[in-house]
Symmetry: C2
Subunit: 282 residues, 2 copies
């Protein structure tokens, strides 16, 4: 799965949290529209959530309203359940697999290396949509942030990283990004290794990660990109843990709905450029 | 005063708020050390503050500890007091004029066009130090931010600007920057006019603005710079008020103590470069 540019047949959608689930459903509607024809079965995985009995019915209602033929409510609380053959079968039948918010470490701890995760990756390869909000978005890359107070970040070691679900490997994703002022978290990660694009998702904002590594912003909010590839200098390697990190030259973009970005080329795409590229790749 | 590059003989010091006032005094010590020889009189102006009787004694104690020969505690609550001849005389005798935090709009509303402000500008031209923390820092440029929730910023019109005290005109200054996640406020200003450098001061962090427009970061915290001059595109002019602003290509730096920046050349200065330039201009 981890390729230099995202290459699955299906679509990944990373949502910054607090997406509208009861009114216009702008983002969820777009997610649902990406499902390949002929399979409108949705699986909602609430593993990350501490309140699955509250969130699962919300998504059940939203996706039913959007026309889902079935919505499987999957709590998957532990590794036994993540190996359950019936659950694997439900995943295999689903055109959209949706991860709720909560704690991304619970998500990876329960699902890492499990038959359910293997089935989800397989479905993504085959063309299904994999979407997630908040923790469910942060956990998507090969490496994820699972902790780090924004106010203390940009001090060596303040941000905690570990392996993610590895649906995509060219980026690092953070959620609730503008609302919780998390710019410094992605700056610290970028200073530690400038190769991976930082994607900061605002609330009620999302990116579709199209095949060929084209990002498309959707929703009413912002998607912030922090591109460290041309980082000129940083003191990070010379510091003791906790000392403040200096950063010379990162590039900052703010995408709104309809704007895009080519991950490999590191190129911002204004709406007409994005449309042309998506049409070309269709 | 408003010149393309800061050209007074004295030093401006903009502090991000919550600087240490009772322990190591790292920033205040540096501010005090910039006072030209032979005049260690300090004037502390608490106009911005809602609690002048609490903050003035703190600065009285700190600057006395640092060796001030006198510390004038100036509340200056209204425009009558801002025109007071005795107060003007105290300013004229001071080697350091220090603005406390509080509300920058109170600061400009009370001091704008006043004899006290004229005297402060004159002292800066003559070589005195003018320093300010939080609101006292934000108010220093020709144009200042006085309001705008960080979580809602980067939506057209979310950030409110007005005239500042006009000690320097090449930048826009924001305080409590990392702690309150204010990146989007400077991004919105940068999108509206990319000419002016955005300076985001973290708490217990500061910049010295040296003659010739050389910035020097001091203190334990971070100074974030958002440079929009090479902005490639933005939709801001086409939006209705409240709509989300797209931004293509701003440059982001994080300075720590000893690092600098040349405003006119838009050049990051690592410590040995900064030292060389400061030595040259001495």
């Amino acid at each position: 799965m981890a390729s230099p540019v995202f290459s699955a047949s299906g679509h990944l959608v990373a949502i910054g949290g607090a997406e509208d689930r009861s009114s216009d459903l702008e983002i969820l509607k777009k997610v649902f529209s990406l499902i390949p024809e002929g399979n409108q079965v949705v699986a909602v995985i609430a593993t990350a959530s501490g309140i699955p009995d509250q969130v699962l019915p919300e998504y059940q209602a939203a996706f039913s309203r959007l026309g889902a033929s079935q919505v499987h409510e999957l709590k998957i609380r532990d590794r036994q359940e993540a190996a359950d053959a019936d659950t694997v079968r439900l995943i295999e039948q689903s055109g959209l697999i949706f991860f709720t918010g909560g704690d991304q470490l619970r998500l990876t701890n329960v699902l890492g290396g499990s038959p359910v995760l293997t089935a989800i990756r397989q479905r993504l390869q085959e063309g299904a949509v994999v979407a997630g909000t908040s923790a469910g978005a942060a956990a998507m890359p090969g490496t994820m942030i699972y902790n780090g107070a924004a106010a203390d970040a940009l001090r060596k070691g303040a941000v905690n990283l570990t392996f993610g679900l590895n649906f995509v490997d060219d980026l690092i994703i953070d959620s609730h990004f503008l609302e919780r002022g998390r710019f410094t978290r992605l700056m610290e990660v970028g200073a530690s290794n400038p190769e991976h694009l930082g994607v900061g998702l605002g609330e009620d904002a999302a990116v579709i990660i199209h095949p060929h590594g084209i990002l498309e912003a959707i929703g009413p909010g912002h998607v912030i990109l922090i591109d460290s590839r041309d980082l000129a200098s940083s003191n990070i390697a010379d510091l003791a843990m906790g000392e403040p990190v200096a950063v010379e030259h990162m590039i900052l973009h703010a995408l709104v709905s309809g704007h895009g970005f080519d991950i490999e080329a590191r190129r911002y795409l204004v709406p007409h450029e994005l449309s042309a590229i998506l049409a070309e790749n269709r």
